[in-house]
Structure formats: structure tokens, C-alpha cells
Symmetry: C2
Subunit: 168 residues, 2 copies
DNA sequence: CAGATATGATTGCATGTACAACTACTGCCC
DNA sequence: GGGCAGTAGTTGTACATGCAATCATATCTG
């Protein structure tokens, strides 16, 4: 075993908090399955592609490097590399040389990709509007704050396997 | 195309709401990656196993049928079937005949599985306590309510490809 | 400038997951 | 009871994803 003994004691987590976490997991799983079903039913590409196209669309000139993309999407580089293969094959993005750094490339959104983004958004937005937003109600802001705080917390300690957190 | 034209118009979603949704996705992705890393670093099985073990543990007599398990975990039956293969091979669960219905089986948690659940919880709980709970603060209840509401909304309309939702 | 080190992307391999087809059994209807 | 639809689980196949190794290029150091 390559571990310290840091894993021998579990911090206390009360029922309400545990329920919040599990509800979070479940909501995510159900939403993603639903979105995937809706995309499939409409003959559209998988959800993962949507996120790639969106991030590219939002980038300064509709292009990014794979590594930036992988970071943004919380995906491994290898996985992303192959995904780009498939998306490129469909003509929604292209790989272009990156001026100034010849080992890097730009992944650029095509016109066709931009249209696809739009088409997918129609299906996607309905799913969010039907299931996610109503549940947020007036708390959208609160939820957003909390979620962003989670993300920041994880990002801050990316490397730490098991940081000391003062439970008794 | 096998779809109605219901996908041609996207409901309006304002920036705050969209940000909440995206923060939700990102928080989930980051948390799951972190948990996976922590489990791997501790030489423990993948996160998916934990959820199987937990659901079994919580079941009436520490056993469930695969289909119930698949439902609970939002997983396909085939995927679950193979996962059970692997978990069973590790001795954490066993398949047993189901009295009263000879096509069904029980998947039952072993003693060893129960111990593993405990070990994994130590790592897992720390991750939640370190990154998720602090971000919830006093809002744990609000978040839980919202997340459960999302889940219920999706479950209610499981089959509907694109239900009519009154956007203009 | 040469060599060492770091960074960006891809590929081999292993694993995980889903859909569709299949087998086995149950329950219904005639 | 015999046949037919439905349900539970598994398997063939394809696809998706991650880690580790690799190749090419960049940057740093002496």
C-alpha cells in the first residue's frame, strides 16, 4: 500500500449534509441520462460534443488548444484527443497549426459546428428549463455560488491526496 | 430524423440560470475526479463500486436484485452486470439465487464488502467534508431540496422526448 | 550553442459503459 | 395446458475514457 494512515478516520458528516451530497449525485446522473436520451432521440451527437463546441464558441476567436479545452472540460488529454478525432471527422471542428508554437495546435469551430451548437442547444435548453431550473426557483444564485465554491475548493488542492482537515 | 419539430426553438434561459447549471456540471466533474484520484492513491477500488456497496448496505438484508440496483444507481443493466462480475471477483459481493423467482438473483454484500465500504468511506468522507460541505454552509438544506426536486422532475417524465413547455 | 528538462499532443493498452440480441423464466389469455 | 407477451439477467459488439509511454518542439542552463 502506498498510503499514509490518513484514511483511517472519517470526518463526521451529519445526515442532512450526506443527503445533500447524495441528492447532488443523483440529480446529476438523472439529468445527464435525460439529456443523452434527448440528444439521441433527436439524432444528435453525444452531450460531450456539445460542451466542446460551446467552449470553443466562447473562446476569443472560436479556437483553443486541446490542453486548454481539457482543463476547461475536466477531461483527460488523451480522451479529448480522441474525441476531437471524432468531432473533426464530423466536420464540426478542424485542427489548425498554432502560430508561434509548433507542438501545439488550435482546435477551431467550423461554421457547421456553430450551426450544430445551435441545434443542440434547442434540445439541451429545453431539458434544463424543464427539469433543472424549476427546481432552482429563486435559489439559482445561491446554488451557483455554492457550486462555484465547490469547484474552487477542489481546484485549489488539486494535488493533495489527503490534506489534513481538522476533525477530532 | 425521427423527431417532431419540437427542437426548433430554445426556451429562454437567463445568464444567472445558465451559470448555475454550468457551475453544477463543473462542480460535479471536479468532485468526481478528485474522489477518483483519492481512491486510486489509497489503492482502493473505483468510486462506482462504493455506490454499489453502499446501496446494498442500506437495503433491507444487505441484498438487492441487479435491476433495483441499476435503477437506484442510474446505470444500465448490462453495465451493472459486468460491474458485479468484477466486484464479485474481488469478494465484496456474492450472487445468490432469489427464492420465488428463478430468473432473478440477489446481489449480497459480504463481510469483506462491508469492511471495504468502511475503508472507502474514510477517504470519501474526507473529500466531501473538505470540498463539498464547506461550500454548502448553511444552505445544505436548500441545496438538498433543490437537487431532490431536480431528480423527481426527471423521473416523472422519464419517457418524454420533448414535452411541451410554455416558452413563447 | 549543446544538452537537460519541460510542455503539447498523440497512441498502445486496459478498463468501463451502453445498446441490442439472446436465454431463461413468469404470468396472462385463450 | 399451450402459446404469447413481458420481465430478469447476461453476452456480443462498439464506443468512450484514462494512464503510461512516446514523439516533437520549446525553454532553460551552463
Amino acid at each position: 500500500m502506498a498510503t499514509t494512515e490518513a484514511a483511517t478516520r472519517a470526518p463526521r458528516i451529519d445526515a442532512e449534509q450526506a443527503a445533500a451530497w447524495r441528492a447532488f449525485l443523483r440529480a446529476h446522473a438523472l439529468m445527464l441520462r435525460k439529456i443523452g436520451e434527448d440528444f439521441a432521440a433527436a439524432g444528435l451527437p453525444p452531450f460531450a460534443w456539445y460542451e466542446v463546441l460551446l467552449v470553443l464558441y466562447e473562446a476569443p476567436e472560436h479556437h483553443l488548444q486541446p490542453s486548454e479545452l481539457a482543463d476547461e472540460l475536466v477531461l483527460s488529454r488523451s480522451g479529448l484527443s480522441r474525441m476531437i478525432d471524432r468531432i473533426e471527422e464530423s466536420g464540426l471542428v478542424v485542427r489548425r497549426a498554432c502560430p508561434g508554437d509548433r507542438r501545439a495546435i488550435h482546435v477551431e469551430l467550423t461554421e457547421e459546428g456553430e450551426k450544430m451548437l445551435d441545434t443542440m442547444w434547442c434540445v439541451y435548453a429545453r431539458c434544463i428549463a424543464d427539469h433543472f431550473l424549476p427546481a432552482m426557483g429563486e435559489q439559482a444564485w445561491t446554488i451557483r455560488e455554492a457550486m462555484e465554491s465547490v469547484a474552487e475548493s477542489v481546484r485549489r488542492r488539486k494535488g493533495d491526496g489527503a490534506a489534513p482537515s481538522d476533525d477530532s
